[in-house]
Symmetry: C2
């Protein structure tokens, strides 16, 4: 059985959980608490030396990190990964866009405002991120003016990658009502078979906490 390391609140972990749910793949989750800084702990670094969630452990013990790489791996041979190189490249294009031009602003502002120790001290950073995050949302809005999905002509891991932090962008201070095409796309994504919410458990086994023996 696959083992997923990560916490429910993390959008990067949610991407993998959403795909696992939509592919109906049994797995267990081991909770790695970000607020308690467990990703940086010795116990987790023994699994993933980079100290970041999510990490996926296969039954044979091999471990894969980086949410985008995990989505790619799990989606092979499924409808969530297109079957021609051009569409595949477009899917990856949007996944790289998400990691480089979207997540560092939209997810980070959500983190600073929801979980940060002192949002006041981070005011300038939050303001700078708001500008860049809105640029990312404008890019998405423009694309969705002519397309139903990102990357391919159907729902794919690109949509899963972008859904994760876009659907909670308001928690980072972003006003999604200014982006009607993005809002409509979020609704279409939510209506896909097997969709789960961010805080909805997908583990088909009891959830372990990091440090509990397996």
């Amino acid at each position: 059985m696959l083992t997923l390391y990560g916490n429910l609140e993390s959008g990067n972990v949610y991407k993998v959980r959403l795909l696992l749910a939509q592919l109906d793949i049994p797995h267990r989750r081991i909770d790695v608490n970000q607020v308690r800084n467990e990703p940086r702990s010795e116990a987790f670094r023994a699994v993933n030396p980079i100290g970041k969630v999510p990490a996926l452990r296969l039954e044979d013990g091999r471990v894969l990190s980086e949410s985008g790489a995990i989505l790619f791996y799990l989606a092979q041979g499924s409808p969530f990964w297109p079957d021609n190189a051009w569409d595949q490249a477009q899917v990856l294009r949007w996944m790289f866009f998400e990691q480089y031009s979207h997540e560092p602003y939209i997810a980070v502002n959500r983190y600073l405002l929801r979980f940060g120790q002192d949002p006041g001290a981070a005011a300038q950073r939050i303001a700078d991120n708001a500008v860049k995050g809105n640029q990312a949302l404008e890019t998405m809005e423009r694309h969705l003016g002519g397309h139903e999905w990102f990357g391919a002509d159907r729902y794919s891991v690109a949509d899963i990658a972008l859904y994760a932090y876009t659907h909670v962008a308001h928690e980072g201070g972003f006003d999604l009502t200014a982006y009607p095409s993005v809002t409509a796309w979020l609704s279409r994504a939510r209506a896909r078979p097997g969709h789960i919410g961010l805080m909805q458990e997908t583990s088909t086994e009891p959830v372990w906490r990091l440090g509990e023996s397996l």
Copy 2:
């Protein structure tokens, strides 16, 4: 013939040029000058609405952006892209790592120090980036302690993606002598057939400037 949009100084453009050179693929380059802010110009946004280099235009007019997606597309069927899903996922893992945990610190400090209007005003940002950039170099050093290459057991687009900004990290104030395995890996990469330097032109046609008609 393929058309590549971008300037020579950009590491993200260099990734694509290096692969094109090593695959011996004829192409022409259209220069998009970053210091003159041409990526954000109307003329370039007509090609790539996101306003970022590199962008690759196929003969049929389709355009692909994001260096990682372009590397993926061009490497299909070549020795630079492994042939099994696990190694492919590992290659992508390092490419996502590069874009999320390496480039925003190492490339950005190089940009601020070399091309920035006022490095003094950016001193705090440069110092913060130095910490994160060194973490990325430590992650690479640890991996290279047990592996010859990133991602697969041979030179791949993951190595190309990481080479681009690592080999000029000293221009961003990073001391590579502290990372002997990284330094040795840079030498191995430089010794690969078809390797070209950052400022070495690869265009097999005269270089056009943005705005010149084609």
